[in-house]
Each structure stands twice: as C-alpha cells, then as structure tokens.
C-alpha cells in the first residue's frame, strides 16, 4: 500500500463513506438495510470490505485457504448481526476487524501452535538463510518472516502497516493501549529486521 492508497483508505474510513458504493451509503446504513433483508446492501458491504479483510486474515494466518474460510464465516456473522445492528459508538470496520481477528485466533488455536510471548525478540544470529532467496520469491520470504513473529506482534504490524489503520483503531481492535501497541510494533519490526537481515541487501538490490 503506497502513501496515496493509505490516505485514500484513511479518508474513506474516517468518514465511514464508501469509495465504490452505488448506494452512496455508509456502513451503518448498509447494515440497517441488510438487517431488513436487503441483499444488495449486504453485497455493498462485501464489496467494500472483502479485499482488505481477506488480506488481513491471510497475513495473520499465513494461509490463503484458511483466510478465505474465515471471511466466509465473518460475513455470515455480518448478515446475522445486521437485524440487531446499532451504531453504539463502535464503527462497523472496527467491529468487523475484531470478528475476523477472533476467527483467525480460533483457527490458530486448533493446530498445535507454539505461541511465542508478546515480548519475544529473535537473537541476531537467526536470519532466514540467504540461499533461500534464489528459490523463493521475496514476497514469500517476508510472509515467512511475518509468520515467525509472536501472534500479537504480527497482528499489530499487519493492522498498522499493511491495513493502514490508525494507531487508535488498531489498539482498539487488539484491546490494548496505544503505548502498548507501539511497543508491540517496535518489537515486531526489530524481529523482522533480524529475520530478514540475510536477504535484505539482495532483495533491495534486485528491486531497485
């Protein structure tokens, strides 16, 4: 996401207004319409949030197939929630990110997953091997490095860096204070620097 996309995203979120809505309605209005059985309004919500939240789920889970399953379940919850939706302060996007995140957390709990503590930091001698670079796409290496992070660090960096959410909204979704969020972000980026240290120069050299 470049800076312009980031600005567009934030502007769209800030006003809770669609970029692409034929109905010209905000998320809350679409939820109220969907609650009355308006499938077109529901379709607008899907169009507006699917790509963004699918990317979020994929980056949290490191698994495309599971991310798609999560999004199906999440949007079914939107439909079920719509009849009782009230705009009680929580924005739809914040609520929906929480739904998706909770479903992702449930998925990650199922297999034996050795969770790392939130304050975990990798030692400097554990970068991903240089030799992998030739065999694997750079995108996959970054995905792999991201997957190595402790869950909360990964969630923080995905919400703030990739999803472009404000620190306040990301903190709200993760149910932490902004200061704690920044601490998670700092640790996440330090760990990513260590993990990607072996490939950094070559990848950047290739893409310049």
């Amino acid at each position: 996401m470049n800076a312009r996309m980031l600005d567009d995203h934030r502007a769209s979120d800030a006003g809770n207004q669609p970029k692409d809505s034929g109905l010209g309605a905000g998320d809350d209005t679409l939820m109220l319409l969907a609650g009355k059985g308006d499938e077109r309004a529901y379709g607008q919500l899907v169009d507006r949030h699917l790509d963004r939240t699918l990317a979020f789920a994929q980056r949290v889970l490191s698994n495309r197939s599971e991310a798609e399953d999560v999004l199906q379940e999440a949007f079914l919850r939107v439909w079920k929630k719509a009849p009782t939706w009230t705009n009680d302060g929580a924005r739809f996007s914040t609520w929906f990110y929480r739904v998706v995140l909770n479903l992702c957390i449930d998925r990650k709990r199922k297999p034996a997953h050795a969770a790392l503590p939130d304050d975990f930091e990798f030692a400097d001698n554990s970068p991903i091997a240089d030799a992998q670079l030739e065999e694997t796409q750079a995108s996959e290496l970054v995905e792999k490095a991201l997957a190595e992070l402790p869950d909360r660090q990964r969630e923080a960096v995905v919400l703030c860096y990739y999803q472009g959410l404000s620190n306040k909204e990301a903190a709200e979704i993760l149910s932490v204070r902004v200061k704690a969020l920044e601490s998670l972000l700092v640790r996440a980026r330090k760990n990513l620097q260590v993990l990607l240290d072996g490939v950094r120069g070559e990848v950047l050299g290739e893409t310049r």
Partner: protein
Amino acid sequence: MTPDRTRELLEAYGADRARWPHDEARLDAGKTRTDGDAVDLEHARSEAGRLDGLLNLYEVAPAPGSLRASILALPVEAVDVRDVARIRPDMRKPGWSLAGGMTGVLNGLFPKLAGLVLASVLGFMVGAADLLPVHDRSVSVDVSGLALGEDGLGGFDS
C-alpha cells in the same frame, strides 16, 4: 517533537510519515543536540526505510470472484433455513407434533435411535387410525410437505 520521539515513531511505524499518527506526522523532527545524534537519527530513518521496502514486497492477491459469489450466497441459504423453520409449525398436526417432539428430544440424546422411535410412533399412529370406525377417521397423515432436518431425522420441533 523531540528526536527521541522521532526515533520511536521510526521504529514503530517505519519511515513513511503517512503511516505515523496524524497529529505527529505533521510535526518537525526536532533539533538534535549533537552531530552524533543527528547521524543516529538518520541511520534509524534509513534502517526503517529499508525494512519498509522489504515489507512492501509482501503482496496479497485480491479476493477471487468465486469467493465473493459464495459469500453472497450465504444469506440466501440462511434465509432458506429461516423459511423452513417458519413453515414447519404449520405442518404440525397433533400426531406430527407428538412424533416430532419425541424424535427431536431423542435425536439429541440418542441420534441412532431416533429414526427407530419415529418409525415406531408412525406405525402406532397408522395402526390406531385403522382401529377407528370408518366414519370417524379424522386422523390423517400427510407427508407431502414434510421437511426433514439436515440429518434426515431431527428438527421437527426446532
């Protein structure tokens, strides 16, 4: 903004100020006390930029049309379930209600026995109907609109 805070922002959000908190992104980086501090800050900015460059390589493909289609189909299926639930009470004649109620309870407790019990109750009902005088056969069994549950047995009473 102090140089220390600038460094914190670089370490947390990266080198692109568009990703920083809005209220701080507009502020000046602040003057460093020494040339060494300035060099350190520049190094932090450079490192953050390099990591940003790597992170930007991780792209995710947009949702395929098939996923969108299956998501949009979900409410229709959910409505179908509600419709079936709404229709079912109208189907409940006294005999069906008894049979359905018993089967529903048993299906929850002993799934494999529920079908057997249902068959027994139906047999009893049909037998009882045969015992009634011909002119008083008010008991009728209409299975034309019967909707079975997902497992083909339960759900009469749901």
